[in-house]
Symmetry: C2
Subunit: 266 residues, 2 copies
């Protein structure tokens, strides 16, 4: 049976709330997901939370009730609390009535099985957690295997990234690596490293993409460093019609990923 908690100073409440901070997420190895949609997505892909918090104000959705029960059956903790406390935990005025704390899967680069998918996303020094979540969501949609985060990057387990991923955080492999380690790993097996660049004449629409394809997306402001571009097997350009010379990082990732997939269907 879920414990009833109505105090802001309860230890579990404080612990869940602390997961909005990167430091606490790292220390505890947990992260937050909010709302029935994402939490049901997680369950459908085989993942239950370690802690689940909910409010029964307005009624508990049957699917939520089922997940709460399963969580407890697996030894997880369930707490029933107030909308106010949920708002405090999620940092939103209109909180979701369901919130789960999940174990961060510790996936090392060496554990990535590149043959599991023809397409992998690789992102360098992304600053915006929303972009990371959106790239995960796009990766799920195009059938990518996962996302490899290079260098210092925003936290893929931040509330904002998890939200933008719309559940893909539970289906895509996520790992982090330094650039030299990534290159060493990449070259230890088959794989075409593809970057977008302004310095090439190769149109992205006519390029030949090989499997497994590793799509390298650069930092939002600076794009890819020259050294990273040099390491690519293929540089392509997305021609721009307007004044600007770049796309949003998550948009560029999606346009590339869908084109790579389309090229394999021809």
């Amino acid at each position: 049976m879920p414990r009833q908690i109505t105090s802001f100073s309860n230890e579990t409440v404080k612990r869940l709330r602390s997961l909005r901070e990167k430091k606490s997420r790292r220390e505890q190895g947990l992260f937050l997901a909010e709302g029935l949609r994402i939490i049901a997505e997680a369950r459908d892909s085989g993942t239950l939370p370690e802690i689940i918090a909910f409010s029964s104000v307005g009624g508990v959705h049957p699917l939520a009730a089922e997940i709460i029960e399963s969580t407890e059956a697996r030894g997880g903790e369930a707490i029933e609390t107030t909308p106010d406390i949920l708002a405090k935990m999620s940092g939103k005025d209109n909180p979701q009535m369901l919130l789960g704390a999940y174990r961060q899967p510790a996936v090392a680069l060496s554990e990535i099985d590149r043959s599991a998918s023809p397409l992998w996303m690789v992102a360098q020094a992304l600053r915006d957690p929303g972009n990371i979540g959106t790239i995960l969501r796009t990766g799920d949609a195009v059938g990518a295997g996962g996302l490899i985060l290079i260098d210092d990057s925003a936290d893929p387990y931040s509330v904002e990234a998890v939200r933008a991923s719309m559940g893909a955080i539970f289906t895509q492999k996520v790992t982090q690596a330094r650039w030299p380690d990534f290159l060493t790993w990449l070259r230890s097996g088959p794989g075409q490293l593809v970057g977008t660049s302004l310095k090439t004449e190769q149109d992205y629409l006519t390029a030949v993409y090989e499997q497994p394809c590793f799509l390298l997306i650069g930092n939002e402001q600076a794009g890819l460093p020259a050294e990273y571009e040099s390491a690519c097997d293929l540089l392509v350009k997305i021609p721009m019609a307007g004044r600007a010379d770049s796309l949003n990082a998550a948009v560029a990732a999606a346009v590339m990923a869908f084109q790579v997939r389309a090229s394999w269907q021809r």
Copy 2:
């Protein structure tokens, strides 16, 4: 000569700061843009701010100095102020050192010249200003004419939308319309209305897109209402490989827009 302002209670400071609120933007008909990159983009496309605020801490970029001078020469107001006050105005801890208040161009649907571009973006009830800005940025990149916002939508002139547009707010036409008015206008001339849907077998990669093409993007949560889908000349589906059945709205807009453009290049 720019006025020196060091007081938070100065009227111009309060006025600029108020532009973070939708109500004030509407009352004054102004909006904020931050940072040299976007402000230079605006100037290059022929738009100067009515008010420009800057700090000379760390030096004033020659291009910024030029824009400040041009703004004053055209009868605009320039104020030199402190990083603290700029932070207050932009609502960010690390503010840009340059900030402009621009007149919102009042573009009525009837003033849109559809022959000016083969592609137009149409978005229904978008809630996230970041998505609106990103769609504007993508529109600029693919050579779209502009963005028509249908029904109640987030404000394209909000600070977040302007920031995400990376200057495209100054190059893309932006207008708002109710759905019936939009349909009446659309049918008064040539134009193919294209929506994405889960309820069609037509793959977006093999569809035939006509010019001018109006790409209709649905609300982030609900997608397009059935009635709106019915009004489309063409419904296409972006096949999904993963668990999810949808993409981020700005990503879907970009994947479609780039595919439409690609189909015309064959």
